[in-house]
Symmetry: C2
Subunit: 516 residues, 2 copies
């Protein structure tokens, strides 16, 4: 007899869900058993829940369809929160299935009982506690629809174990999404009027304004009206290279961002929010463009490409003229030169595969990548949109599963990688074509920079101990091999280039430990 | 000029706090800088927040004084939740310091902003968002007092960055705890009366009834009135061995626990709650002793030892007569015999150091340990009280820091160890005398058992994939060496015994990968 768990999976399959990133426990066993009977949904094991949620984020960014996660009660769900925070900020569609105690058992406050709703609300755009087996089909269909609504978000469905094993209702039909949102003609006319009236205007692109068509339209607008153009600092997915315009990201540190935007009297936002600093600092305002009136063209993930194209036509822009000059001179590096982020980025630029997916959680070490590859082959870049570190490795796994015909290059800082290094197991088990470049600078370099910015020129013993990844130094090659991922350690640019070429021509994952 | 962060640390030091398990970010830099000026508080880096909270749990279980954690915003805090759940269930005193955006910046919903209170409430017995630098001294003193109140709990204090760097108020004096709670004479008389009236009574001991004095008193009572006696299944801290009574834990699976308690007409609870099943199962009640009237002698952590001693006197019990017979025949194992949990436990029993601290997160593999060591040298056992896996390695680190003169033996299942394996770095960096016995059975064995219990005799591909830790097999020796922890792999009982002897006579951490 089919259980309600079977109905859930049939409903999900009919709604387009293909994959479930799972770290189940006892309360999820009926769903695991149902997965055995649902070959259309691929189960992928994560050894830690943050791996599952990061994989789902990577999958959803590439597919714009939700992956499911399967998580165990409140504490298991809690382990997934940091990467769900990133998914929420990136507006990635994700559907969490969270098992709970049986309805009768919940009243006894047994050891693993907790307030799942309070934990889930801060990262969920939609939340429901399923109360009866008969509701599980429709609850599932609504969760999936909610994950795709309003540009994409995180839907969390809590399912008591006895609801999972209860008698299955008929699967629910997919809920047809409301017709795709469209920016009104009135708004486009108004933005065009503002652009014409401005003498120092800028465009800030984010989210779905970072697709290929949207960026070409934005380049047309910028040419036509003489606007400066910036990409939001941490894009969820940014198409780059090939014939695309060589735009630059808004700088991370607020002083530099404020300077970049200082002379504008108007800032058009396409798929982006009004720019604010990542953190607050003494004596500094949070707004980065206080002098420029921000005008919203399109909400994130809600029709930015069409709006930019309409706006380009409205301002009488010429056809797209191809990529402009690269943002800065190409980086030259000789063989055997010392291994620093600039040298690494130059080597990456030399062998970046066509159509690669680049996952950037390289923090300070990743900055030179952008200039080095702006005029390279086409690639997609996924960054740490929500700022919760530990996203890179799982996001790479999810993206590789979503796009098996594309190579994935994971640019990864050592400090951040520690939070979800268990993703290396998933790379090995699923034989994913992911090359991890592990930038080993053996420190939380960004924190050392922040301390210097705060005027702490001579950190004491405590500060040093909390910002250095030394005593002992992490051996990333050993860690990778512990998870079944082949690894090599390199200490010079020539060795790095050779290792990267080998890795990119090999099937399955590789980790290159680059000692900076 | 001293900052409010300095006031916080001075207040904490005056209140008896000695250590801070930290994984800070930009919003915690003023507290990190203040740690440089506060040599009385030891900062210990965790590479993942769940390591920090698990360390604090281990420290607090051994010291009954709070450790502090230092965590970064909502997502960083979220990573600590699973082990705070365990601390909450164990009533361990813990004080979380959670940095937040500056007060002005919070309104801008920048990428890392989230609802920290909603995340923290489910694991916190006390929560406060500090609003002004002038309040930080008193808020700290109150947080520390709250962590020790009502038997112990988790206090979470959110501190905006600008509150940390604001002008420091005078440090607040420690808040004197209310006088230690005491079980009333009336309750002791009433329990004694119920015991005399019962013909088939039992005692269930938990929490502070598992100290040495309390257990000796409980043994006197059991002898005097002919009571059966059980230890709660997952004690926070249980003193065992030496001249202590050889009590047994209540079984984990509800059928066995119910059978153990079936013939009782009365169940006295000392430091324990009325026993309930860990999970709900089809057709089974959650209560484990439905026929026995549960009578509370003492709340967890609130005076159980004195109450048991008074009760023993009241029922006219004779003096403590020493440990009874061991709970089952000693396990015999020959050299070179196959390596299974029974053989491992026998070897552990042969070389368990006097006064060791044993951290049991060995799940199914750890069960034979208890019978093998009941009559061994004195030791303390800390178990997975809250059921949120990933507690063992960090708890071992915290216990070792709390008790530098005691050896720590960490009995660790492979599946659970993955959730917080970053604790291995902390073992190495702090040169802790921790011997990790890693039971490598390459599966989530408990889930396979649960599937069999649910009648799934032939798991399908999905079930197998989600419960087996194979393809690839984890190489725990490589993982340990990646974190600077010496490791050896053993595959037979003789080799294990030799490796264990070597490890226990060596300074610093070792991991023994026992291939089952």
């Amino acid at each position: 007899m089919p259980t309600a768990a079977d109905s859930l999976l049939k409903t999900a399959l009919a709604s387009g869900v293909e994959i479930c990133f799972a770290n189940p426990g006892t309360t999820e066993m009926p769903l695991v058993a149902a997965l055995d009977r649902s070959p259309g949904i691929r189960p992928v094991l994560g050894l830690f829940e943050g791996v599952c949620s990061g994989c789902a984020d990577g999958w959803g960014r590439m597919r714009r369809q939700p992956a499911m996660t399967l998580l165990h009660l409140g504490p298991g769900f809690a382990n997934s929160i940091a990467n769900l925070h990133n998914a929420r900020r990136a507006r990635t569609p994700v559907v969490n299935l969270i098992g709970d105690h049986t309805r009768a058992h919940a009243a006894f406050d047994s050891p693993l009982h907790s307030d799942i709703e309070s934990l889930a609300r801060p990262v969920s755009t939609w939340f429901r506690h399923c109360r009866a087996p008969g509701d599980l089909g429709t609850d599932t269909a609504e969760a999936i629809a909610a994950s795709k609504a309003a540009g994409g978000g995180v839907a969390s469905l809590v399912i008591p174990a006895d609801v999972q094993w209860g008698e299955g209702p008929p699967p629910a039909p997919p809920i047809t999404a409301a017709s795709a949102p469209r920016v009104t003609d009135e708004r486009i006319l108004e933005v065009a009027r503002r652009l014409r009236a401005s003498s120092r205007c800028g465009l800030l692109l984010g989210s779905d304004a970072l697709g290929a068509d949207a960026q070409r339209a934005a380049a047309r607008i910028a040419s036509a009206v003489g606007a400066k153009l910036w990409i939001e600092t941490f894009p969820a997915r940014w198409e780059r290279g090939g014939d695309l315009p060589a735009f630059e990201r808004l700088p991370y540190f607020p002083e530099a961002a404020r300077e970049a935007l200082a002379d504008l009297d108007l800032l058009i936002l396409a798929g982006a929010r009004a720019p604010v600093a990542f953190f607050g600092y003494p004596g500094q305002a949070s707004e980065l463009a206080p002098a420029a009136a921000p005008v919203l063209l399109s909400e994130p993930q809600l029709g930015s490409a069409a709006a930019l194209e309409a706006l380009a036509d409205e301002v009488g822009a010429a056809a797209y003229g191809g990529p402009g000059p690269p943002p800065s001179a190409p980086v030259a590096v000789g063989a055997g030169s010392s291994l620093d982020p600039v040298a690494l980025s130059a080597a990456i630029a030399r062998c970046l595969p066509e159509n690669a997916i680049v996952i950037d959680e390289a923090a300070t070490s990743g900055l030179p990548f952008y200039a080095a590859t702006a005029r390279g082959p086409h690639h997609s870049v996924l960054t740490l949109t929500g700022g919760a570190i530990g996203q890179g490795l799982p996001c790479a796994a999810g993206a590789a599963l979503a796009c098996p015909d594309r190579r994935v290059l994971s640019l990864q800082a050592d400090g951040s990688a520690q939070y979800t290094l268990q993703a290396l197991f998933t790379l090995a088990r699923e034989s994913l074509n992911v090359t991890v470049v592990l930038f080993s600078n053996r420190s939380y370099r960004i924190l050392q920079i922040e301390m210097a910015r705060a005027g702490i020129s001579e950190p004491g013993a405590a500060s040093r101990s909390l910002t250095q990844l030394t005593e002992p130094e992490l051996d990333w090659s050993a860690l990778a091999r512990g998870y079944g991922v082949p690894a090599e350690r390199v200490t010079d640019a020539e060795g790095f280039g050779q290792a990267l070429e080998r890795a990119l021509s090999t099937s399955g994952p590789t980790l290159i430990e680059a000692i900076l």
